[in-house]
């Protein structure tokens, strides 16, 4: 029997919650564990290219309008990690798909021909509730909602779940809810902990190990390196020590393993 490729979408209507950082870091960690991973940038800002130190390209646009097929896939320069990059032409794709009555199915259709040869496809989805976000939800086999604990990103969680509910009503959603990924956790801020508790009360075991706030993330992005390449011991990756006993809690390493289990890798 043909193994189904795990297509995992990182979605949240709110911007600045760590979607791109999370999708790139998780994709890189999965690839480092020997999986073949494809990351697709569905955001017109093209920040996946920035995070990986690559030039932005209009590959996503050309792929979705049918100009190219597998040629849209590029090597990222990291073992096991391939990319379909985006740039401002992604905004044009959005317009074209919006005018197509079946536009919301386009990404799923393209991935069915493209994803073979990969163990996982990671979709980095732009904020906002547009056609590309809906197309990502239609194409995915599971989705995760990164949630910044810094501000009102919880509203974005509800909106993302409402988008899924609307797709379910028309039978277009075939995926599963992998969970919420709390990001930028600052334990000194009481509101952060209250929001984490609220997430845990609402979603139970579907709350991923939280990612601590860490200035390294911005520095890594500015240098065009992934977190693993920039500082493999940074708190955002390996978590923080809570009790002075050497045991670390949270961070992308444990979150990526947790997520791999949730998406069936």
């Amino acid at each position: 029997m043909k193994k189904q490729v795990a297509v995992c979408a990182f979605v949240n209507q709110k911007g600045g919650v760590g979607k791109t950082t999370s999708s790139v870091t998780v994709a890189h960690l999965w690839a480092m564990e020997g999986r073949r991973v494809l990351i697709i940038d569905l955001d017109a800002q093209g920040n996946v290219a920035d995070c990986l130190g690559l030039e932005k390209t209009g590959d996503l646009n050309r792929l979705l309008i049918g100009e190219v097929g597998r040629a849209a896939i590029r090597e990222s320069g990291r073992d096991g990690l391939s990319v379909v990059l985006g740039d401002k032409t992604t905004a044009r794709t959005r317009q074209i798909l919006s005018g197509d009555p079946f536009g919301v199915y386009k990404l799923r259709e393209v991935l069915e021909g493209l994803a073979g040869g990969f163990d996982a496809v990671v979709l980095d989805v732009a904020p906002g509730a547009d056609i590309l976000q809906l197309a990502a939800l239609v194409a995915c086999t599971s989705f995760v909602i990164p949630v910044s604990l810094e501000h009102l990103a919880l509203v974005g969680v509800r909106e993302a779940l409402e988008s899924v509910a609307s797709l379910k009503r028309v039978d277009a959603f075939r995926g599963g809810f992998a969970g919420v990924l709390p990001t930028m956790l600052d334990r000194r801020i009481k509101g952060n902990l209250e929001r984490l508790r609220m997430l845990a009360e609402t979603f139970g075991r579907q709350v991923a190990p939280p990612i601590p706030t860490d200035a390294t993330v911005g520095k890594a992005q500015a240098s065009g390196k992934t977190l693993v390449e920039f500082d493999a011991r940074c708190p955002a990756l390996v978590g923080v020590e809570l009790n002075g006993n050497g045991k670390r809690t949270g961070g992308y390493e444990v979150a990526a393993r947790w997520l791999a289990g949730e998406v069936g890798l």
Binding site: P182, R187, E201, R205, V207, P210, G244, G250, W258
Partner: protein
């Protein structure tokens, strides 16, 4: 103690919330109690679960009693002797395959029956 009322959450989320609960609880304690908790937290302690090793427990207690020494220092001394021996001889002869997915081997302690593993 303010128990974490949440169940079925990931260990990492529980650890963060539990840690904050404990900090909050400490903040509400009288100063003497808070200092005591801090002092205790600094002490490096191990709790030994003797369930299934009752024979071993009895022998350690007897030995400590006979030598007129505290139980902790007796256990510490035995641990040191055991460590020296393991470093010298290795653990291989004492190991047998485990069923656990987490650990490949169990260490078998001779002379305390089947439970001694």
């Amino acid at each position: 103690m303010t128990a974490n009322p949440l169940t079925g959450i990931s260990a990492d989320v529980a650890a963060v919330l539990g840690h904050e609960d404990r900090k909050q609880e400490q903040a509400e304690m009288p100063k003497w109690k808070r200092n005591q908790v801090r002092r205790d937290a600094k002490r490096s302690k191990v709790t030994i679960d003797f369930t299934g090793y009752e024979q071993l427990q009895e022998r350690v207690y007897e030995l400590a009693d006979r030598e007129h020494t505290g139980l902790s220092s007796m256990v510490m001394w035995l641990l040191w002797l055991g460590l020296e021996r393991v470093l010298r001889e290795g653990l291989t002869p004492k190991k047998r395959m485990a069923r656990s997915l987490q650990h490949s081997y169990d260490v078998v302690i001779e002379g305390v029956g089947d439970a001694g593993r």
